[in-house]
Subunit: 364 residues, 2 copies
Amino acid sequence: MKAPKKASALNEIEGVLPVQSIGAKAIANFKRIKSKRIDATEIFEGLRTGNMASLSQAITLIESTQPKHQALANDIIQNCLPYANQSVRIGITGIPGVGKSTFIEAFGKHLTQLGKKVAVLAIDPSSSLSRGSILGDKTRMEELVKDPNAFIRPSASGTSLGGVAQKTRESIMLCEAAGYDTILIETVGVGQSETAVHSMVDFFLLLKIAGAGDELQGIKRGIMEMADLIVINKADGDNINKAKLAKTEFNRALHLFPNKPSEWTPQVLTCSAMTHDGIADIWQNIMAYINFVQENHFFQTNRNQQNFFWMQETINAHLKNNFYQQPAVKQAFDELSNAVKNNELSPFVAANRLLDKYFKNINP
Amino acid sequence: MKAPKKASALNEIEGVLPVQSIGAKAIANFKRIKSKRIDATEIFEGLRTGNMASLSQAITLIESTQPKHQALANDIIQNCLPYANQSVRIGITGIPGVGKSTFIEAFGKHLTQLGKKVAVLAIDPSSSLSRGSILGDKTRMEELVKDPNAFIRPSASGTSLGGVAQKTRESIMLCEAAGYDTILIETVGVGQSETAVHSMVDFFLLLKIAGAGDELQGIKRGIMEMADLIVINKADGDNINKAKLAKTEFNRALHLFPNKPSEWTPQVLTCSAMTHDGIADIWQNIMAYINFVQENHFFQTNRNQQNFFWMQETINAHLKNNFYQQPAVKQAFDELSNAVKNNELSPFVAANRLLDKYFKNINP
C-alpha cells in the first residue's frame, strides 16, 4: 500500500505532470514540503524576488488537499495580497479545435516582446480525468515555455469545478505578487468553467473559427454574452474570406445583445495565430478596454465585487461540501433523491428530511 | 403593539391583498387558521373537489412564515403529489410595458374557452415592497378574474427571490392537484426571477413589442436563450409592419443560438392581445412543443431534473440562511466583507474565518 500512496501524493503535490516526467527539481520540492523545512515567509520571499520555483511551490501548496499545506498556502496568499491586484487578467475561451494553445503561444510571445511578464493559468475540470491534454498543451506552447518572462501552469486537478476554480483564483494572486502583470486564464469552452473564469478576470475573450453555417454551435449558452471581444482565429490562406463573413455575422449578433455593465461595446476581430496577423490589434483592443473601464471606474468596482463573490462562493462551497459529505446525509441521499426524481416525494419534504439529519448529526 | 401585529399577520396570511380589500371570506379563512380548526386533510380534500377557497387557503399556508403553517403546508403538498404533475406549465416573461397582463387575460380566456382550467401564478420579488402593482394586475385581468375556470394568485411576498420562487413552485403542485391543467407563471422580465421560473416550467414564452432600434434592450442577458417561443405583442393598427420587421430580426437572432437541450427550434410569432389575432397560433405552437418533447422524452426528463434541482435549491437556501443568520456570523460579516472588498483580506481567508465562527457556534 505504501508505494502507490506515495506516488499519488507526489502526483498530487505536483498537481501537474504525470509521474514519469517529474524531474529532479520537482522531487526536491516535494522532499522539502515533506521534510517540513518550508515555511510561508521563505516561499513568499522567493516568490517576490521572481523565483519561479518558489511560485511553483506556492501553487503546489494551494493545490494540495492537506490541511497543513492549506494553512501554509493561506499565509502565503495573505502575504501576497498587498502586491496582488496589479495586473490585467484576461480570460480566454473557445471550443476545442479553435486553436487556443497556438493563440496563447502567439499572443503570449507578443506580450513578452512588449516587455510584459505573462502568466498562463488554466481551468479545466476535465483535466483531473485525462492528464494527457495538459501535457499536450504545454508542448503546443513550446516557444512560450522557454520564455523567461512567461510562467505556464496547467489546470489544477480536483473533483469539483468550484475547487479547481478557487485554486486558480488563488494562483492569480500569487502570480501577481511574483511580478506577472498579464495573467491569461484559459478555459475549455464547453461547460460551466467559463462562468467561473468570467468571475475572476477583467476581460473575457472568446476565440472562434469561421465554419460553415451555424457559427455559435457548440458554444455554451451565455458565453457570447460574457465576451468583451470575439476573435476569429485561423484567418489565413483560403480561410480569410470565411473569417470576414463570420466577423460580419458575429457583429450583427453582438448588436442584438443588451449593454454590458461595463458599458463597453464588444468588437469582433480576426487573427491568425500562425501568421501573427491581427495579434497586435487584439492587445490594442484590450488596452482600450482597460483604459475605458478604469476611467468609468468599472475596473475597480468589478474587482471589488469579484472579491466579495469569491468570499461568498468559498462559504457556499464549504457549507455544501460539509452537508453532502456527512455520513448521515450520504446514507439517505440516494433514496430520497430518487423518490424526488420519480415524483413520489416533494422536493421540499425531501430537502427538509435531509436537513434534519444533517443538523442532528453536525456535532455528534 | 397588539393591533399592528395582528394587522400584519392578517396581511401575511392573505399574502395578497391590502388590508382594506380583505373580504369576509378571507377573514373567515384567517380565523379558521387562527383557531386551529384547520387540518391538512380537510384542506386537501376541499382542494381536490375544486374548492377555490381551499386552494387559496393551502397557498396561504405555503406562504406563511410560521413553522406550524409550514408543517401543515408540507402535509398538504405531500398529499397532492400523486395528483400533481398533470398539467402544462408555461412561463411568461417580458419587460414592463410589453402588455403581459393583457396578454395573459386574452390567452387565459382563449384557454378556458377551449375547456381548459387555467391557474395564473406570478413571481415578482419586488412585490413585497410595492403591493400596488399586484392589485393593478388583477384589475387588468378583469375578464379572467370572473372566469370560474381560472384561478389567479398574485406573487407571494418575501424577502428573497429563492423564498418567493419556492412558494410559487409549491403552489404549482397544489393548483395541479386542484384540477388546473394549464399553469401560467408570470414574471417581470428584469431580474433573476426568469431563471427561477425557467426551472419550474415546461415552456418558456418571451413577450416582446416591436420598438425602434435595439430590440433586445432591457431584456436580461440569457433570457432570449431560454425562450421556447418569442411573441411580439401589440401587432395591431399602425404597429403591424413594425412587428413583422421585429419578427424577422428575432428569427435571425434565434438562429445564431445553439440547439436547445429539448431539440426544439424556437419560433417567433406576432399577436395582438387587444384584437386576439395570433392568440390561437400561440397555443398551437405550445401544443406542438409539448407533443414534440413528450415524444423525445425530454418533457419527463426535464421535470425529473427540475424536481431534483428544487430539492438541491431548498437545501442550499437553508444552509446559507442558517449560516448568514447566525449571530456570530452576522456580527463579524460586515467588517470581514469590507476588508475583502477593499483587498485588505483574501476572500478565502475571510471565508474561513466566518466558517470557523459558524461551526463553533452552530450547536451552542
